[in-house]
Symmetry: C2
Subunit: 169 residues, 2 copies
């Protein structure tokens, strides 16, 4: 079914159904705004936490998290794809982490023109400590919501994610 057909199919059946459609349209926009507001609020709190506790940014934390999951390292292209940020940003963050001895650029064995970024032993230690504290912070932050509601929220977000991922472009 095309998106257009899906969006308008009920309009043609009756006036009552049409009023439901308009109501539904309104719900979609409100849902988008609430999703963005909720995520923005979570990100602000995580940003504050990482800044206050570790003087680091979400971008640095996320980059180190990607490297921690990939011991063989990632090149700049792979990092920018996974983090969904520009190559320039990845380079800047990598430079900063490298100057602090937390990551290292190593020549790729398969393609000697390419550098792979890896966590150093000190980078691994620092990230493990940050990840532990970050986890505790999130558990506390979400602590007031019941497990049942968290699971339900996760399921509904999963449905939305799947829907958007599979819809036509």
């Amino acid at each position: 079914m095309t998106r257009r057909a899906r969006g308008t199919k009920i309009v043609e059946t009756s006036v009552d159904a049409e009023s439901r459609v308009h109501d539904d349209h309104h719900v979609s926009l409100r849902l988008l705004l609430r999703l963005l507001a909720c995520t923005g609020q979570v990100e602000n709190r995580v940003r504050q936490f990482l800044q206050t506790k570790f003087q680091t940014s979400i971008a640095r934390f996320d980059l180190m998290a990607q490297l921690e999951r990939t011991p063989e390292g990632l090149n700049m292209y792979e990092l920018s794809q996974r983090l969904m940020v520009t190559r320039g940003n990845v380079t800047g963050i990598t430079d900063g982490l490298e100057s602090e001895g937390l990551v290292v650029r190593a020549v790729d064995a398969a393609d000697r023109r390419v550098f792979r970024v890896k966590l150093t032993a000190e980078g691994q230690r620092q990230f493990a400590r940050m990840a532990r504290e970050h986890e505790r912070y999130i558990i506390d932050l979400f602590g007031g919501m019941s497990t049942k509601n968290k699971r339900q929220l996760m399921e509904l977000l999963g449905e939305l994610k799947h829907l958007i991922g599979s819809s036509e472009r």
Copy 2:
């Protein structure tokens, strides 16, 4: 109750309860990751849509949306607060929109050292057109989810947002 007390209180009661706590901790982290992934996917699609259809960015669209809601205009500080971006970013976007005749900087009547940014008539026309198409796009994008599930998702996101907004810093 402190966050720490809330996060650990069940651990002290029994082994079964403890395993439930660990399970719940796991759910919180997964919920965070899914929330970020879902929002990221929505934002990517909206970014693509605005770029393809109107050769504009989410940042430009959001700035114009703020001005549309505030006919008396907003100064740079207010804009950066509402959009949660830096003053430098707001200045850059405003410069671009001004050069295209979509916004104008006017001296604030109350404080003549301050400029207020307003939409021009052409800016209002363009934004109205973009907002209409953006609304249709979101309705299509979310079209595959039932209104019941959308409402439920909105309610749960509202609970999380409220929770985070009211928790201790």
